[in-house]
Symmetry: C2
Subunit: 127 residues, 2 copies
């Protein structure tokens, strides 16, 4: 595992919030080329150490957000995103296995992935 790879993985692990490739690329403590960041995030996701989703927000446009998933290819999470302060709230581990199995049975398709997230205004920003 290369130095860049390890550093990017550590940054992901350290972050409480999902982060974009750009955020990592601009992080002064990392300072790897954006192409390197993008390539390594792909790699880490393929490996199962990271998960991502694409989110569009008026202020920041359309970007892919990454979060850590552990060496044990840990739990798949879902998030709420505040459109005012742009923070994410972890909704906890995914609880849709049952529903998705039911759909697979009903339609006879095979689900390889699912995307779910919420957007709105967080408690702090309402006040």
């Amino acid at each position: 595992m290369t130095k860049a790879r390890k550093a990017i993985l550590e940054a992901l692990k350290a972050s409480v919030q999902p982060v974009t490739a750009m955020m990592l690329a601009k992080e002064p403590s990392l300072s790897y080329d954006q192409a390197t960041v993008y390539r390594n995030l792909h790699y880490l996701e393929e490996l199962g150490m990271a998960q991502s989703f694409i989110l569009h927000c008026t202020e920041h446009g359309t970007e892919r957000y990454y979060s850590y998933r552990g060496a044990d290819c840990g739990i798949h999470h879902h998030w709420f995103h505040c459109e005012k302060c742009h923070r994410f709230i972890d909704l906890g581990s995914c609880g849709y296995d049952e529903q998705m199995h039911a759909w697979e049975k009903k339609w006879d398709f095979t689900i390889t992935d699912h995307t779910f997230f919420l957007t709105g205004i967080c408690s702090a920003c309402k006040a």
Copy 2:
């Protein structure tokens, strides 16, 4: 309501599957400028006559898909997308109001939107 607007709305209504702005712009029977298509899709969504979601597929990249939502601002739907034949399967109207209300209560945030879709291989493509 302008001619372009009406034509784009009709095209949306006529389509069984969610469509991208590009698909509509390239449709020979429409032949409106892409900027016009994009602008009108925004308009229709704001009006509540259309709904959209961003989906990434390896073959076609990242694009926003639109579907019709009725004059009565009809029901919000969710979809399964086949990564082989690129067809969508309508999973029916959204059944997450209850769960989302529970989350709103738990976290004290206000949900303004939610995104949910599945990707995988459809029945026909498995065979």
